[in-house]
Symmetry: C2
């Protein structure tokens, strides 16, 4: 029986049909879970799962959950994760979250069960002429398998490409008849197709970059998502210490993970084009950063004209994309930073006083921003209503370095970054993609990948409605994630936009299309079988959180926050 | 002020910015509602809504709801309905249901708020390079407006094309900066751009078709969705009576509306390729039908070889798409049927006995199928568990001709067609699109369009999870639709597919990926502020239904049905 074949078998083996070939390829790649929301086209796939106990099928009740769970799983493991979606309608439902995976270079492999080839040409049920159009914008590679005996080869390639640097989503369409067809399907040896595609940068450019950094008087480092993605925080810390340089994270909207320890003495908050240290730096090193996932075009220059930029990223299209760049390094962030550390050499006192002073000023600015946030928080927390910052201060005191915070809180995410990340050295997972509801499946996928970590998700009330079906999966599989639903009863981001726009809405105080108050999310959560508690006074939060932690499955704490506390009005 | 301009002004007028031009064009076309789930890109649009009280913004909390509400509204009114979606992620979330609108030729106009043109080229936040790829497969026309002063013209065109025969969805992308730009935007006179595009068929072909029908001995009519869409039931009834021909609806999966009165003496159930009357007919007239939205390719011939087909449809691509066709009539169904009625002339006794006998046999077959369904229903209803057919028999007794049934019940829809449509002359709205959750927004959109009708939606438990956010909108606007959630705790369609596949799942009785039991949907509904009641015994159903009818807003009756009652295993 094909299922008994050794996974270390080095040569091509053969499965009995397309569906079994799918499982054979997955197990060879070490894929142990497939997140799915199936339809009738997936019958052969589901049936084959009976034979493969080492690859489990995780059922979701909406494709957006399957994709975001795979995304969370892929980000946490650094390995390809697979979502199996049903026909044109299921694929469409998963696309918004696939955009998030695409931005994060998260290796999510989309398998898409298609109706039989005999009705695709006839506009048959749930078929569409350009099925790959939905996926191709967010996939590194997309294909529809044309013959049953190619399924193994094609899926092997989808996994290979997703896992090769720069990682990212891939797409494979699999027609029902080809999955079902009883034929010999070759299964390639995965171990002969693993291509890390990690590269070191051009040594000449490293030499130039290290001279520029070494001779700088006021260097600034922007720590980007690629550093976190490839686990190069150690290398970046060493470099920052040797240069005695302040390090900022990407800007509020671009930042998706902690790429430099927030408790480190060189950490100086978020990048902001208007900050003094950006204006005063004599070189800016964009380490694995993106520049940027812009919310709007900046009125002011993002980087001061004349300040040389050094940009390191695995993706050449990110380099010099908008801003003139002195040195562009295409490479894996870990390898590239290691090269730079070596080239820069050990710490030298050259420009020592200037650098120390620059770092101190950067740190002082960061401290004053945090103090300001605390003051604002205290001001608001004196009222009867719960402010987001006070809530997050409270939550911070309950988290530690074993916590992973999944952030899909939209307007509250500025406060999450200042009030949580500044105070707790937790893991942090967010998206620059703006696809509401992404955080719910992602939190569950993260927990499955890192069961020993305490996973806490912070989501808005609007977001929670988008991701509700995720509760079904989490209850069914008893996935213990604690959700903090910040219920301000509104689409606060839209309200903020109306304030900025300054028209009749802002003048009259009537904001059409923003009031989503009404639902009792704790009650709804209990209807799914989850723990659910509504908190209306901050003093009740800690007890609710501790009860939630004890629950064997998903727990939802709905916090009724001040409806007027909608986060920053300005976009930057 | 632009809002004060007369809507009957015949010439081009001017709006003050793109957003106001949107409203000016909409009111001129008589569009009184825009279904939206906004983001920050829609600020100017929302702000402009303050000035236009005759176009109301209907807020939804998920784009799938906005699109399906617009679809329901468009189908019920026969006029274009507008959904305004937010950027790439919002558009993607609405696409699965747009497929349903596409199949039904429902004139849904998608407006898509895009980020400013200044960041679209930079892969900015929620932008994507091929945004129109998402919509183009389901839209008759798609465009992204390039200049602020073209917004009026472009939207006018989107509405014009959606409303022209054959109707269907259109798409228009509107960038934030163009909507906000203060500039003079021409607003075309809608009344000079209305193009019905209704056509009569080629008279030579009508003559041939009428001769063929008049001389036939055993003619069979298939009543298709186009007949219902353009309101040509009267013409079809007349034709059927003159020919004394049995009339069947499209097949179970293709049928989306009642295109021939089910209480009429010539009605003979659903088309089935295996039925005797299809095999014996000497001519088959496909009146506004599709052939077909096929679930799978048929093993047997769908039409007997040699039986001449006459096919009438507004869409030339539907004609002779798969099956060889004797006479293909491209025309509006109402005009084409009127021509045929005239050409066939008054009833003649030619072949009278043969026809009468053929009709009687068709009716007898239909009666026996209904009796069989009733017998099966009674058999199942003797058990303690609720069977779907018994439930629907019960429901049928509570409905009448003022009821509209929206059917998104997947595997139960066979029973809906036999047990409801055969017994109650209600309106019927379904989709051939298979996009789960479609029925929820559609039911609410239908109710808004026809407030005097009693709208009842029948949905599966899986479907209900997909459409949950729709409850928010219905509670907020107090839209009184009664939902019957058939809770069999499973993806029954997948289970049926596994039975058909006949592999380890069917043999072992363990069906992976199908068990979605657990949630208490009545409880969840109450969490949204809706009426919610769970029914576990059939005797409690009527009282629950009567309570639900009294509720001022959406009401959900969750009926716990026999988990083994999963509808027909076979696909045809």
């Amino acid at each position: 029986m094909s299922a008994d074949r050794s996974t270390t078998e080095p040569s091509i083996t053969v499965a009995r049909n397309g569906a079994e070939a799918v499982f054979e390829v997955l197990r060879r790649w070490g894929v142990d879970k497939v997140f799915t929301c199936p339809g009738s086209t997936e019958a052969a796939f589901l049936d084959a799962s009976h034979r493969y106990s080492d690859v489990s099928v995780v059922l979701t009740t909406h494709e957006s959950i399957a994709v975001s769970m795979a995304d969370g799983y892929a980000r946490a493991t650094g390995r390809p994760a697979v979502a199996n979606l049903h026909t044109n309608v299921g694929l469409a439902n998963g696309i918004a979250h696939l955009y998030c995976a695409h931005l994060a270079k998260s290796p999510v492999v989309i398998l898409n069960g298609l109706k039989s080839t005999s009705i695709q040409n006839r506009s048959g049920f749930t078929t569409t002429p350009h099925i790959r159009d939905f996926a191709r914008q967010y996939a590194k590679w997309d294909w529809q398998t044309l013959r049953a005996d190619a399924i193994g080869e094609d899926l092997n390639r989808a996994l290979k490409i997703a896992a090769a640097e720069p990682m990212g989503p891939t797409y494979l369409g699999l027609s029902q008849d080809l999955l079902e067809e009883r034929s010999s399907v070759p299964v390639p040896p995965a171990e002969k197709h693993r291509v890390t595609a990690r590269t070191r940068p051009d040594p000449e450019l490293i030499a130039v970059a290290s001279r520029l950094l070494s001779s700088s008087r006021q260097p600034l480092i922007v720590a980007g998502y690629e550093v976190a993605r490839v686990g190069a925080l150690g290398e970046l810390v060493t470099l920052a210490e040797r240069l005695n340089a302040p390090v900022v994270a990407e800007d509020r909207r671009t930042m998706e993970s902690v790429a430099f320890p927030t408790s480190h003495n060189n950490y100086a908050g978020l990048f902001s084009p208007t900050s003094e240290m950006v204006r005063e730096a004599d070189v800016i090193f964009l380490a694995g950063a993106r520049t940027f996932v812009e919310f709007e075009a900046s009125d002011a220059p993002v980087f001061p004209p004349g300040t040389p930029l050094i940009h390191l990223n695995s993706d050449a299209t990110e380099l010099a994309k908008i801003y003139p760049t002195e040195i562009a390094l295409v490479c894996n962030s870990k390898l590239g930073l290691a090269d730079l550390v070596t080239a820069v050499g050990s710490w030298s006192s050259k420009n020592g006083d200037t650098r120390r002073e620059f770092l101190n000023r950067a740190r002082a600015t960061y401290s004053s921003i945090r103090q300001q946030a605390r003051d604002e928080s205290e001001q608001l927390s004196n009222s009867d209503l719960i402010s987001v910052s006070a809530l997050l201060d409270n939550l911070a005191s309950l988290l530690d370095e074993s916590s992973t915070v999944v952030d899909d809180s939209v307007t509250s995410s500025a406060a999450v970054k200042s009030h949580l990340l500044g105070n707790v050295p937790c893991h942090y997972v967010a998206t620059a993609g703006g696809s509401l509801g992404w955080g719910i499946g992602t939190a569950f996928g993260t927990k499955l990948a890192t069961p020993d970590r305490q996973v806490v998700a912070i989501v808005g009330d609007g977001v929670f409605q988008f991701g509700l079906p995720g509760l079904w999966t989490a209850v069914h599989y008893k996935i213990p994630v604690v959700f903090i639903v910040i219920n301000n009863g509104s689409y606060a981001a839209v309200k903020a936009a109306l304030y900025r726009y300054g028209g009749p809405a802002a003048k009259s105080g009537r904001f059409p299309g923003t009031d989503i108050s009404g639902p009792h999310y704790a009650h709804i959560s209990r209807g799914f079988g989850a723990f659910g508690q509504r908190v209306e006074r901050l003093v009740d939060f800690e007890a609710a959180f501790r009860s939630a932690l004890k629950h064997d499955g998903p727990a939802v704490i709905e916090v009724m926050t001040d409806p007027d506390d909608i986060g920053p009005i300005q976009t930057s």
